[in-house]
């Protein structure tokens, strides 16, 4: 059955009966699954940056397409929520649209493109440009939760490294990067230290978004469905990108460039090749913010 057929069928069932989706509990997952995820979320919040293992469930989309984020969203959503889902900053991409339709079908929530109007934002690979507030929750979809995987293939070994805060190999990796290229070349998934204790993968957000995690007003929840891990950064928590005194962390440089649509010079820009002639133009990656500025 195709996704749209399933959604249509569920829509019919919903109109007939008094359940949100025929045959499914509120929020799609069974109670046991939701409780397991909730317990993991609370432990993740209590130990900022630590990856809590949990029993990741089958979702009606493939693992690797946002199932970790969806499971977190579904375990905490209420009918009073206003949900925004973005994919690489865009409200209108296929993945984001289908996740929105699915969650709306099973949890009866309102949908918005406005970051400031949303109570829960689920995102893949971006943090919205507009600063979020204390009552909001940002749920990030995570493909690779382990920041140390680049330097160590074994899960048992990375777990030991986290247990003992033995991060020397990560620092060596960054040092070798500098020796080879003159700077740290990690462009996304830039490793950070959370609350002075755990090195954490902030999901594949660009460097541009990393400073937004530091001492934020908002709760950040990270869900890796395929890898079965949940972790979190509570509000007002220190999040420091790994850096050396003489090679400090820096964000992407867009100086001299602006959004071809709204003219913004202070947002993360996507480079787009416009025509066969190969002209390059830039657009805001955060489409909701760009829409708001263009309106």
């Amino acid at each position: 059955m195709q996704m749209h057929e399933w959604l249509e069928q569920e829509d019919l069932l919903r109109k007939k009966g008094d359940s949100i989706v025929g045959g499914y509990p509120y929020g799609f997952m069974d109670d046991g699954a939701k409780k397991d995820i909730r317990r993991s979320i609370l432990k993740a919040v209590a130990i900022p940056g630590y990856q809590v293992p949990y029993g990741s469930r089958e979702m009606p989309i493939a693992r690797g397409w946002g199932t970790g984020g969806i499971q977190i969203t579904l375990s905490l959503i209420t009918p009073d929520d206003i949900l925004k889902v973005i994919d690489q900053g865009c409200d209108g991409s296929v993945n984001a649209v289908n996740i929105k339709k699915f969650i709306q079908a099973v949890a009866d929530v309102q949908i918005t493109n406005d970051t400031l109007a949303a109570t829960v934002v689920q995102t893949r690979h971006r943090i919205p440009e507009e600063a979020m507030s204390a009552g909001q929750i940002l749920v990030l979809q995570v493909p690779y939760p382990e920041a140390l995987r680049e330097v160590e293939a074994s899960e048992a070994e990375t777990r030991r490294m986290h247990a003992e805060a033995d991060y020397s190999r990560m620092w060596l990796y960054l040092y070798e990067d500098i020796v080879n290229y003159g700077e740290i070349t990690i462009s996304y998934r830039y490793p950070v230290t959370v609350n002075g204790r755990y090195i954490m993968d902030p999901s594949p957000i660009p460097r541009w978004d990393v400073p937004k995690l530091h001492m934020a007003e908002t709760l950040f929840l990270f869900g890796a469905g395929r890898e079965k891990r949940i972790y979190a950064i509570p509000p007002h928590t220190t999040v420091e990108p790994l850096e050396f005194e003489d090679h400090t962390f820096r964000v992407e440089d867009f100086s001299g460039k602006s959004c071809a649509r709204c003219g913004a010079t202070d947002t993360f820009l996507d480079e787009v090749i416009e025509n066969a002639g190969g002209d390059r133009v830039h657009y805001c990656s955060d489409s909701g913010y760009c829409d708001k500025r263009s309106a």
Partner: protein
């Protein structure tokens, strides 16, 4: 018309999550579906978190068959204190048994238990101990009436070897909740 029962756990969990991510602030559990009995707020709180995968134990008196109430509403099994995932302290004290409670391992610190203290009344200000750390903008000083005087001191001791530790929730008789996770620093008092 849909009944609020189908998403009451969601609404309750959102409040608990808000409380855990903002330690020391006071949050009100939603009043959605009244559960009869003296321990209604506690049952409401535990119902969104506990099932047959986790165990609990009770410190203090088991008034009015609390253990069987919890088991009936959540499916969770009563266990001894050193093995329990959730510990319910009915009289605002763990009676010196805090050191028996699971604190997790360095590999899996999430194995540390959650303690739910039943207390008289919670307020956001004028408390004894100053709290700081993740989730707290500066410092907070919640007042937890009905909590044993030495309890916060003992919590500080047990959570000294971060990330090992226990995470605490304090629930008052009006269904207000405040949390002190292990990441919170408890000041001298």
């Amino acid at each position: 018309m849909r009944s609020a029962t189908i998403h009451k756990d969601h609404a309750t969990f959102r409040v608990v999550l808000q409380a855990m991510s903002h330690p020391g602030t006071t949050c009100q559990l939603p009043v959605l579906v009244p559960i009869a009995g003296e321990h209604a707020p506690l049952i409401q709180l535990l119902s969104c978190l506990m099932d047959n995968e986790v165990s609990f134990s009770i410190v203090g008196d088991d008034a009015g068959g609390l253990a069987s109430d919890i088991s009936m509403h959540t499916g969770s099994i009563q266990s001894n204190i050193s093995e329990s995932n959730f510990v319910i302290a009915t009289k605002g004290t763990t009676s010196g048994q805090l050191s028996l409670i699971k604190r997790g391992t360095l590999e899996y610190p999430d194995g540390g238990a959650t303690i739910v203290y039943l207390v008289d009344e919670i307020a956001e200000a004028e408390g004894t101990a100053e709290l700081s750390g993740p989730g707290i903008n500066g410092t907070v000083r919640p007042r937890i009436a009905g909590l044993a005087t030495s309890e916060l001191r003992e919590l500080r001791e047990i959570n000294a070897e971060y990330p090992l530790g226990v995470d605490s929730m304090f629930l008052d008789t009006n269904g207000r909740i405040t949390c002190i996770p292990r990441s919170t620093q408890i000041g001298e008092y």
